[in-house]
Symmetry: C2
Subunit: 109 residues, 2 copies
């Protein structure tokens, strides 16, 4: 259980920053170099590298250096794990509403 | 744009803590008092109240005091906004894969 939960801490933490979400958004459209990632962001390259490190530690992004260029890619598995956690909570909540609705309809008969 | 982004910071930040996720999980099953929320958690009631304040500030939970009991409820809208953000990123990524697959199939003909 703890093994399943721990990675979500890092994923949600990484997504809590608007600049990191812009980076994830860019990488969802395809791989990018660090300077391409930095383009729309109003920050130093060194700050971008720090955000990238948080994204990599969370498992949302991986990168590989070839020559002088580091290419970053999205890791869809981590995005999916967060989406699934939220979806499962929503399903539980919606089923509860359905049961409540059915109960109220029954009382109304 | 910024108005849309800012609430997500708080939602993802709130979900980055495993104890707060347990609280959200409990509230997805129905309203609960603070002491009911505290039951499965290995922490003081005062720590639970602090986590509850983070959840309320993020918009994920709201609470109301009646007499001496504070009842907490989930706010599905905030959960849904985070799920939708993740889902939209996944869709972009999957469409890109589809286009890539179509391109490679074309090259193979």
């Amino acid at each position: 259980m703890l093994n399943q939960v721990a990675p979500l801490d890092g994923v949600f933490q990484a997504l809590a920053d608007p600049n990191r979400r812009i980076m994830v958004e860019r990488l969802a459209r395809g791989p990018a170099s660090v300077s391409e990632l930095a383009k729309p962001l109003d920050m130093t390259l060194s700050a971008v590298v720090q955000h990238l490190a948080v994204l990599e530690a969370s498992g949302l992004v991986r990168s590989q250096k070839t020559g002088r260029v580091r290419t970053c890619r999205i890791e869809p598995k981590a995005l999916r794990s967060a989406e699934q956690w939220l979806g499962a909570r929503r399903t539980i909540w919606e089923r509860r509403l359905d049961r409540l609705g059915a109960y109220l309809a029954e009382q109304g008969d």
